[in-house]
């Protein structure tokens, strides 16, 4: 998952970046409302973690603007204001979920997975396509019942392809999913990950659509 963290506290922001990164997500961090707006208009995120109190504006205002523009990106509000009224105000402003500080990192990751899969139109926590089963919560992938070991990036590529089985994901799209802004992307990085994935989950599982991108075969 590509996640945007909007949090002005440097320690917490760092913890979220590293911590959510450990669960296989690609995390970008911004510290101000202005940067958050810029980031969201430039990149498509699977979920946003938004602090309510930002130096240059309230998180709720960003959220309200976002929803007004018709942006449906799942947003989890993260805040120290966790009285019931605050939670209600946050959810009514368009948040998909609300978590009070301090929180449990694993719970945050689980909630992010939940709101992200809802947007994909899925209720089940596990992705399963043509014999390949991917559990985002445990980062375990099995092919025909046998566990395979994937690197973090390979896992992310496979998850991106499995979210929309049969749909074509372009190389840029996949790059966006894999790398944050500060990360150097090798020009053939995606090809390398796809190649490695094919050797692990089966050569025929991932199809190359010339000039457009990659697609997961829905029939075994």
């Amino acid at each position: 998952m590509r996640i945007l963290v909007v949090e002005d506290d440097p320690v917490l922001a760092d913890g979220l970046k590293v911590g959510l990164g450990l669960t296989g997500s690609t995390v970008d961090v911004v510290f101000t409302a202005a940067d958050a707006r810029a980031a969201m208009s430039a990149t498509r995120f699977d979920a946003v973690v938004l602090d309510r109190m930002l130096p240059d504006g309230a998180g709720l205002d960003i959220l309200a603007d976002l929803r007004r523009q018709g942006d449906a990106t799942p947003v989890l509000l993260l805040t120290a204001l966790d009285e019931t009224v605050d939670r209600i105000a946050g959810l009514d402003a368009g948040a998909d979920d609300y978590l009070g500080k301090p929180f449990d990192l694993d719970e945050l990751a689980a909630r992010l997975r939940a709101i992200a899969r809802r947007r994909e139109g899925r209720a089940g926590p596990v992705l399963a396509v043509a014999g390949i089963v991917l559990d985002p919560a445990t980062s375990v992938v099995t092919v025909a019942g046998k566990a395979v070991s994937l690197s973090r990036r390979e896992f992310a590529v496979l998850a991106a392809l499995m979210e929309w089985p049969g749909a074509i994901r372009s190389r840029t799209e996949l790059e966006d999913r894999l790398y944050g802004w500060q990360e150097e992307v090798e020009s053939n990085a995606v090809e390398v990950h796809i190649h490695n994935l094919r050797t692990k989950v089966g050569r025929a599982a991932i199809e190359t659509v010339r000039g457009l991108g990659y697609r997961l075969r829905t029939e075994p």
Partner: protein, 447 residues
């Protein structure tokens, strides 16, 4: 006397009683004169009647008349004597005293006969050689007057308790609006600080309600401030706690040693920040609890205190801190702890915002006005200058580690020692300049 009702009751009852007593006194004196007149007239008429009887039909009939006259309700009220001019008693009414009532001359007189005072009217008739004297006892007259008063006071004494009862009840009714308001206030719970309705309240009570509502507004403001403060404090503490917990979880989950070390280092940073925040919150709470200026404390050399602060606050090696030698010659009269808070928070603020490298200078103000700190950091946007001393205010230039309390504390602590902070961006270069100005009589140059 705490009960308004009881107080009014006593006032009204005693006023009523006083008026009543005055009225009774007045009636007594007015009627007594009238009574005297009436009785005197009676004496005179009786004397003339007896005399005319004596003159027209002799003594026997006159004696009868005298007896009849004496037989009224007040037994032997009137006494009659008929004397010859030579001094022989010709006749007397039943009960008339032995002693001579008659006067030589015609007219009224008071006479002491047999130990009793009599009021007598005498008719002298030289033609028939008689002197007729009719008299009554003064004591009887007094009794008449007394009976009159008893007649007045008796019913009044009976009516008094009844009147008191009515006054008491009326007061209850009259004071009902007060009880209603009192009841309305008493029924409130502690959170209800909406204004008390003054509609329908008597005009006399309205000022009281207005003052009460004024107080409620102040209480509301104080409570809101406290609530805001608590909410902010909660927010400011929860964020570092969240950071701590997240980093701790990262450290536990990380398989990579570098990641774990990074998380642990972040934990240390976070703990430092949280403890600083707690320290600042405590300082703020202490400063806010002081309403008056602190006692003067002792004479403090500014440079010494500045050096103490600078030495106690480690800063990055690329930051140069300069302390003006002129500060060595300045002594202020101030409470040590408060002045220390001012200097420390200003210094911390400069170190925090200056960035990785720069220069911080502590200077003496001209004319021994005080001191100033200058940094070459980003300064404060002009539109935020007025707000930076507000609690938890963190401008757009936030450092990420600032609590939004540093300048608040510096400002408050400065006020406690009678000093004033002047916060402005430097005009000569990039950066912030904060002046600490002391009252003239608090600063002295050391020779």
């Amino acid at each position: 006397m705490t009960s308004l009702r009881r107080r009014l009751f006593l006032l009204l009852v005693s006023a009523t009683a006083a008026i009543w007593i005055c009225a009774v006194g007045w009636i007594y004196y007015a009627n007594r004169a009238e009574l005297e007149h009436v009785l005197d007239t009676r004496l005179q008429e009786a004397a003339r009647m007896v005399h005319s009887m004596v003159a027209s039909s002799g003594l026997e009939t006159a004696g009868m008349a005298a007896v009849t006259a004496a037989d009224f309700t007040y037994s032997r009220q009137l006494s009659c004597q008929v004397w010859s001019l030579s001094g022989r008693l010709l006749a007397r009414s039943d009960g008339a005293p032995e002693g001579n009532l008659a006067e030589e001359a015609e007219g009224f007189s008071d006479r002491l006969v047999n130990g009793e005072t009599w009021r007598v009217y005498t008719v002298v008739d030289s033609v028939h050689d008689v002197r007729v004297a009719v008299g009554d006892r003064i004591g009887l007259r007094a009794r008449l007057a007394r009976d009159l008063i008893v007649g007045l006071v008796g019913p009044a004494l009976l009516a008094m308790p009844l009147l008191g009862l009515m006054i008491w009840a009326s007061l209850g009714r009259g004071l009902a609006p007060l009880s209603r308001i009192a009841g309305e206030i008493a029924r409130r719970d502690g959170d209800d600080i909406t204004p008390v309705a003054s509609e329908g309240a008597p005009d006399e009570v309205k000022p009281l309600i207005a003052s009460l509502n004024g107080l409620l507004v102040k209480v509301d403001a104080a409570r809101r401030h406290e609530k805001e403060m608590t909410a902010f404090a909660a927010h400011e503490l929860r964020t570092p706690l969240a950071g701590l917990k997240t980093q701790a979880q990262v450290a536990l989950a990380a398989k990579d040693e570098q990641v774990r070390d990074g998380a642990l280092r972040q934990i240390i940073t976070s703990v430092d920040r949280a403890s600083r925040l707690v320290r600042q919150l405590l300082a703020l709470a202490r400063l806010e609890a002081l309403t008056e200026s602190e006692p003067d404390g002792g004479r403090l050399v500014l440079a010494a205190l500045v050096r103490e602060v600078v030495a106690g606050l480690p800063h990055r090696p690329d930051i140069a801190v300069v302390v003006d030698d002129a500060l060595d010659g300045l002594e202020v009269l101030a409470d040590h702890d408060n002045l220390y808070l001012v200097i420390r928070n200003l210094h911390e603020n400069a170190v925090e915002y200056i960035g990785a490298s720069g220069r911080i200078a502590w200077l003496a103000l001209p004319e021994n006005l005080g001191m100033a700190i200058e940094d070459d950091g980003p300064g404060i946007p002009e539109d935020e200058l007025d707000e930076v001393t507000r609690r938890f205010f963190r401008g757009r230039q936030r450092s990420g580690t600032g609590s939004g309390l540093g300048l608040t504390i510096a400002d408050l602590a400065a006020r406690r020692i009678g000093a004033r902070l002047i916060i402005a961006n430097r005009t000569d270069a990039r950066g912030l300049r904060v002046e600490v100005r002391f009252p003239r009589d608090r600063v002295a140059k050391i020779a």
